[in-house]
């Protein structure tokens, strides 16, 4: 369709007043409306998918700030389409989940409006190719998130939201510096145009700084150790729906941005002029990935707060994604490009073309993007399940839980599926993505021996992730049910615990279906991701 991507932007914004006034009447209507808008957006994205598969890229461009050479340019390729679809699925799930989960909270019309606004930023990040528009969406993910966490979260929620805001905004200003520097050096504000324009030996020095600034900024959003400090608080104090979106999409947006802007747009320019720097940069990413994977997994093993366990597991999984990103095959691409350049002298265009071919064929990149998707649905489901548990038991310490599977069978089963997926066991979603990342790693090891040790460590980290997932399931759902507050002397009337209402089950069921489908038949998304546009 002609305006489908523009509509993806506009629909949630135009629906804001309707959501607000529907929310004044009943929160059910508002939640359903947000869900339906997201569903419509899925339809719009899907309408562009055939063209993506045929031509690898689908673009729309509108006049915007012509003075700064900035157009309102939207695009869709395999990577962005697949992540956008999964994001919208999570938003649908979050909207339906909210209806009963948020029951009885104050100011719900505002909550649904913020959710709707958040969805604009969340999806927008993946479908814009203009830097300024990208940054608009990047920050639009942040402001509604701040207010949702602060206003409807648990305990000291505003403090957690403050941490989230300051950390990620500090990262974002470095991104801003990076895109400003790209604009200054090349005069381009579009990531595809900038990629080709940066492939100029004169820009090699500044390209390094741009690469570092962008990557550092995005890494904060990704919550890779050592800039992860905001994540455990924000994830655990947020309402479950927001945790699901934060962990599923927002931190993955950092990974997507590193892939799209740092690695695809800027790295070729660095590689072309300074191979050693580019290689050590990628090695650095691998090291940070391994550290994050271990750090997150170890803390998840000993943490006793139900949501903090999942939060730390997110850090661990961002470690995987970071490791996957570090396998970006620029070194090989460069070797080929240089040989072709010395032969024909068509350095820039050819290098870019070769890069496209290699990246498209790269199993590691495929695995990384697939892991973003599978982690999003798995972690989203896990957070929604944890939210259900907290909603029904009003308890968040796993030492006081146990045997909940008999009382909440649906939540129990879906949690087990999500936890197994997180642990990487077949036939659930994360199995495939982790498999592809490791296959990609072995492929790279043939060219670069450095990766041997990190790959071994990552394999060990997988075992750890199985350990904390099983511990989570064991403590919460299996075993004997703990007596309610044994220490308390006066016997209070025991609260009956039953399973969650149907709308929350529906939300979780959507994600369960995606986990199982991605686990048993990943072909649709794999084919989609392979339609990758890099120039």
């Amino acid at each position: 369709m002609a305006f489908s991507l523009l509509l993806v932007f506009l629909l949630p914004i135009l629906s804001l007043p309707f959501v607000y006034f529907a929310g004044k009447k009943s929160s059910k209507a508002a939640g359903t409306l947000v869900g339906l808008v997201a569903l419509a957006n899925i339809g719009l994205v899907l309408s562009a998918v055939p063209e993506v598969i045929n031509n690898t890229v689908y673009t729309e461009s509108y006049t915007w700030i012509s003075v700064l050479n900035s157009h309102f340019s939207l695009f869709l390729d395999g990577i962005s389409a697949s992540i956008a679809i999964i994001t919208l699925v999570l938003i649908v799930a979050a909207a339906f989940f909210s209806i009963r989960y948020m029951d009885g909270k104050k100011n719900l019309p505002v909550y649904y409006c913020l959710l709707s606004l958040l969805s604009v930023g969340l999806v927008g990040v993946f479908i814009t190719s203009n830097f300024l528009l990208f940054y608009f969406c990047w920050e639009l993910m942040l402001v509604p998130a701040y207010f949702i966490i602060g206003g409807w979260g648990y305990r000291d929620s505003y403090k957690a939201a403050f941490k989230l805001f300051i950390f990620t905004h500090a990262g974002a200003v470095f991104v801003l510096l990076g895109i400003g520097a790209i604009y200054i050096t090349t005069g381009q504000s579009d990531m595809f145009a900038a990629q080709t324009a940066l492939l100029n030996p004169a820009y090699s020095e500044i390209a390094k700084w741009i690469l570092l600034a962008l990557t550092a900024g995005f890494a904060v959003k990704m919550a890779v150790v050592p800039v992860h400090m905001w994540l455990p608080d924000a994830h655990s104090e947020a309402p479950a729906t927001m945790s699901a979106l934060l962990s599923g999409v927002i931190i993955s947006a950092g990974a997507y941005a590193i892939l799209r802007l740092s690695l695809v747009t800027v790295l070729p320019a660095v590689t072309l002029n300074d191979l050693a720097f580019a290689t050590s940069f990628l090695h650095g990413l691998a090291i940070f990935g391994v550290i994050s994977a271990f750090f997150g997994a170890f803390i998840a093993l000993v943490e006793t707060d139900i949501k903090r366990i999942i939060a730390y597991s997110s850090i661990a999984h961002m470690g995987y994604v970071m490791f996957g990103l570090s396998l970006f095959p620029s070194a090989i691409a460069l070797a080929l490009a240089q040989s072709s350049a010395s032969a024909g002298g068509l350095a820039t265009a050819q290098a870019a073309l070769t890069l496209t071919a290699i990246v498209a064929a790269s199993v590691a990149v495929l695995g990384t993007v697939l892991h973003i998707l599978t982690h999003a649905v798995s972690k989203g489901l896990l957070f929604l399940s944890a939210g259900s548990v907290m909603h029904q038991t009003e308890e968040r310490d796993i030492r006081k839980m146990g045997g909940l599977a008999s009382k909440m069978p649906f939540t129990g089963v879906s949690s087990v599926i999500a936890a197994l997926s997180i642990a990487g066991s077949p036939p659930f979603a994360c199995f495939w993505s982790e498999l592809f990342i490791f296959v990609g790693a072995f492929e790279i090891i043939k060219h670069d021996g450095f990766y041997t040790l990190p790959t071994v460590f990552m394999l060990i980290a997988t075992v750890l992730s199985l350990a904390y997932s099983l511990r989570f399931v064991n403590k919460v759902f299996l075993g004997k049910s703990k007596p309610e507050s044994a220490e308390e002397s006066e016997p209070e009337p025991k609260k009956k615990i039953w399973d969650v209402p149907h709308s929350m089950k529906l939300a979780m069921a959507i994600l369960v279906v995606f986990i199982v489908v991605l686990g048993t038949y990943p072909a649709f998304f794999i084919n989609l991701i392979k339609a990758v546009a890099l120039i």
């Binding site: 915007w64 700030i65 012509s66 003075v67 700064l68 300024l132 940054y135 608009f136 920050e139 639009l140 942040l142 402001v143 701040y146 207010f147 602060g150 206003g151 929620s157 505003y158 403090k159 403050f162 805001f165 300051i166 905004h169 500090a170 200003v173 470095f174 801003l176 510096l177 400003g180 520097a181 604009y183 200054i184 005069g187 700084w209």
Partner: protein, 506 residues
């Protein structure tokens, strides 16, 4: 073509209306609908002023783009700039500044009429002075020689003290005294510097001075003149370490005055700084002092933001943000290299955009804080939970805070983007890094404020009936910040002419 009439008309009409305001308000005082009558009166004033400015813009845009400025001499008809004469000079920057001066002052005077009750005894003088200040500022941005500029600009700067003094509290008298002393010292410096320039070049006309300075051999006298003039304007623009008067003065003044001063007089001072120091007296071709400018920018940003970080009084906090804004403007100024072909000109675009956005954002913040002060909320502690008690005003303050912090899609973001990018353009990447770090500090204290407003429990949970009328001008500015942030091309496209004219500058 632009004639004398086109330039003088907006200035003269505003002055005439200012003088008429005093008897007219005395008449109004006898009627029952004083505020409504005052609003009708100002609607008339600004209709005429807008017509004058629109006429000026239309006349100017008929001038071919190659002619980078139009010189208008009072008195003699000859085009040749005489040595000392009242001249005006119109270029795209002056036209742009004139438009934003009139537009922003309209919104602020609307607020002032509702904030300062026209029934109050000396209020007619207050409004008359506001109009005269707008006229003086328009005169300053259209001035074509250093003396005309000096006269109009000092009229605006010194006249500001009356706005601060209004309601004569002990605090405001102290702050105004401080301000007047600073302004007098500054103008003495400037006059001395200008006399040296006149001695060196034998003229005060902008382009004649520039031409003479470009051909100057021995620059020692010029350096002396530069030091005096730069120090004088640094005091008036509140550049660190001469900034101490600003937070005090803005804190002591009534909110409508603070909004007016921060949105118009402050921006006027940056314009003067750019025009005199960067375009005319010491462009890089004459004297390369960009490194010094970069250091001043860094210090001003650091001091402004650090002082804001420790403020407990919200109005003082915003006063310190004004100081930080001076720093951001200076950052953009480092990359302005007039008259050079092929140099990108993001700095000037950033400056001109910042004039508008920074001005209306600080004005918005002062307006909202003025409303809140009215109910006795002054410090961080009082602001606890105010988000629930005064939702509309708090929302406006939130928008101002987000814009200050540089969060898109608000205007402050685009302003900061242009400013920091221009620093990279000027090869001062370190300055851009300091800028973004200070921007993070700024976000921290602004979000501390947001946190207090929305997260803390109020001492008293009752809702406050918000003054809806006062919120109308506030929400006009909120709308402007959002729209200019989403569609910055509304402002950037007219500025583009300035940039296109760069190669044609003498």
């Amino acid at each position: 073509m632009v004639s004398v009439f086109d330039v003088v008309f907006p200035i003269a009409s505003l002055v005439a209306f200012a003088l008429l305001t005093i008897p007219v308000f005395k008449l109004f005082r006898k009627t029952t609908h004083k505020t409504a009558m005052a609003l009708v009166w100002f609607a008339l004033v600004f209709a005429v002023a807008f017509a004058g400015v629109a006429n000026l813009a239309i006349q100017y845009y008929q001038v071919p783009i190659e002619q980078s400025f139009v010189n208008i001499t009072l008195g003699s008809t000859s085009d040749a700039p005489s040595a000392v004469s009242g001249t005006f000079m119109i270029d795209a920057i002056s036209v742009y500044m004139t438009i934003i001066m009139v537009a922003v002052s309209a919104a602020i005077i609307l607020y002032s009429v509702l904030y300062v009750n026209p029934a109050e005894r000396p209020s007619e003088r207050y409004f008359a002075i506001m109009l005269i200040l707008v006229a003086a500022l328009i005169g300053a941005v259209c001035a074509g020689d250093l003396l005309t500029l000096f006269i109009f600009w000092e009229a605006a700067a010194a006249g500001s003290s009356f706005l601060m003094l209004y309601r004569k509290s002990r605090q405001s008298i102290n702050a105004t005294l401080k301000y007047i002393v600073m302004i007098v010292i500054a103008s003495a410096f400037i006059v001395f510097g200008l006399s040296l320039v006149y001695g060196i070049t034998g003229t005060l006309n902008f382009w004649a001075v520039k031409e003479a300075l470009m051909a100057l051999g021995d620059k020692s006298l010029l350096v002396l003149a530069f030091i005096f003039i730069a120090a004088g304007y640094a005091i008036e623009a509140a550049i660190v370490p001469f900034h101490f008067w600003l937070p005090d003065a803005y804190n002591a003044a009534p909110a409508s005055s603070s909004a007016f001063l921060s949105a118009l007089v402050d921006q006027g001072s940056y314009y003067v700084l750019i025009r005199v120091l960067i375009f005319i007296l010491t462009p890089t071709a004459v004297l390369d002092w960009r490194l010094m400018l970069a250091f001043m920018a860094a210090f001003t940003m650091i001091v402004g933001n650090m002082f804001a970080l420790i403020q407990n009084n919200i109005k003082l906090l915003i006063g310190n943000i004004c100081v930080a804004d001076v720093g951001y403007n200076l950052v953009a100024m480092t990359s302005i290299v007039p008259g050079v072909v092929g140099v990108a000109t993001l700095g000037l675009q950033g400056n001109l955009y910042f004039f508008l956005i920074g001005g209306i954002t600080t004005a918005l913040a002062f307006m909202v804080v003025g409303i809140m002060n009215h109910y006795g909320f002054k410090t961080m502690k009082d602001f606890a939970g105010i988000g629930r008690r005064m939702p509309l005003s708090s929302f406006a303050l939130l928008i101002a805070a987000l814009s200050f912090a540089g969060v898109p899609p608000l205007g402050g973001f685009m302003a900061k983007y242009l400013v920091f990018t221009s620093a990279i353009e000027a090869n001062y990447a370190w300055l851009a890094v300091i800028g973004v770090l200070m921007s993070v500090v700024q976000t921290a204290y602004l979000f501390r404020l947001v946190n207090v407003m929305y997260a803390k429990k109020p001492a008293d949970d009752r809702k406050i009936k918000e003054p809806i009328k006062l919120l109308i001008p506030v929400f006009i500015l909120v709308g402007a910040i959002i729209i200019l942030g989403l569609f910055p091309n509304i402002v950037l496209d007219p500025i583009q002419r300035v940039v296109e004219q760069f190669p044609f500058l003498p």
